[in-house]
């Protein structure tokens, strides 16, 4: 009986660790899949992840992210930003309560990043945007990051198959 309990504890610890705290920083979405990606892993502790989420994030009842995985770019009605999330702060642009305008969201993002940069000049910013979003939308986020005087950003995409 004792080895069974030992193995069971090992499994519990494993699943507790993979359900880690970092998942709270990311929003579920489909990031770009590239041809022959030159992406690399980035494990800097000082990174800030800016999630530019599609509408599925704020209206999960109407849209199903899992259904979209087969053809992620086909989504005609999911081209706009649903929410911008950075750290524990989220600016919802669509979907029910506490919705703000895009200008308020971008200003909030810029202020947040400026404050973080003043506290630590070496922070790194990751932009994690859904692959189906229009460039018109994402460039507003890039502009807000640039206005916070952050010169380098990391664009998130899937790793090459052999690196996963």
């Amino acid at each position: 009986m004792t080895p069974l309990i030992d193995v069971t504890f090992q499994l519990i610890i494993f699943f507790m660790l993979i359900n880690n705290i970092i998942t709270d920083q990311t929003v579920e979405m489909i990031v770009p899949t590239l041809d022959e990606p030159k992406t690399r892993r980035f494990e800097d502790e000082k990174k800030i992840i800016v999630n530019v989420a599609p509408i599925e994030h704020v209206l999960p009842g109407q849209y199903n992210l899992k259904e979209r995985r087969d053809s992620p770019l086909e989504a005609r009605d999911r081209e706009e930003i649903g929410a911008i999330r950075v750290g524990s702060t989220e600016f919802k642009l669509q979907g029910g309560n506490n919705v703000v305008t895009i200008d308020v969201a971008l200003k909030g993002l810029e202020d947040y990043l400026s404050a973080q940069r003043k506290a630590d000049n070496e922070i790194e910013v990751e932009v994690r945007a859904d692959c189906a979003l229009l460039y018109d939308q994402v460039q507003l986020v890039l502009a807000a990051i640039s206005a916070a005087e952050i010169g380098t950003v990391h664009l998130v995409a899937y790793l090459p198959e052999d690196a996963r």
Binding site: D35, F42, R128, L134, S146, A157
Partner: protein, 172 residues
């Protein structure tokens, strides 16, 4: 009479019986009942198995933004002649049109874009190239291009080992 006789027999036999009983009685043992603990452990395990989520691993591409201007670069800054990659949306969101402005080339897909860019770069392995690795490369998507295609173009430029790749304001 019988009673007295029996009483006398009992009185003499009792101490011996008691001694025998004391010698054979085992000391009490404490035992831990593990069943409830195992039940709780399995419940915990089932909870974590159900709530665990697995997703494909993500990586990064590093991009430079112009600092403090409040908008992405919309005017290239020579001295070098920048390589301008224009990306236009098509009716199908899955596809896009790629043009190398001023160079008269229109690759059909991003693999071909990489091949063209790599062929144009002047380096140790390619003396016929025209552009240095630090030559500015500007990606000019139109407003309706999907983010996927923009990052793919960026990736093609990075694969071709250009080090100064940036984004322009969305064009109509």
């Amino acid at each position: 009479m019988e009673t007295i006789a029996s009483t006398e027999t009992t009185a003499t036999a009792a101490p011996e019986t008691r001694r025998r009983r004391e010698m054979t009685v085992e000391p009490a043992r404490m035992q831990l009942n593990l069943t409830s603990m195992i039940d709780v452990i399995f419940l915990l395990l089932i909870y974590f198995v159900i709530t665990a989520s697995f997703s494909a691993d993500e990586g990064i591409l590093t991009a430079k933004l112009p600092q403090g201007t409040g908008k992405v670069q919309d005017t290239p800054k020579p001295p070098e002649r920048p390589i301008r990659i224009r990306i236009a949306s098509l009716r199908s969101p899955v596809e896009c049109r790629i043009d190398l402005v001023g160079l008269g080339r229109s690759p059909r897909h991003f693999g071909e874009l990489f091949t063209l860019l790599a062929g144009m770069q002047m380096n140790d392995g390619n003396s016929a190239g025209v552009f240095k690795p630090d030559n500015p490369v500007i990606i000019e998507p139109d407003r309706h291009v999907r983010w996927q295609h923009v990052v793919n173009a960026f990736n093609a430029a990075v694969r071709a080992k250009f080090t100064n790749v940036s984004f322009a304001q969305a064009t109509e």
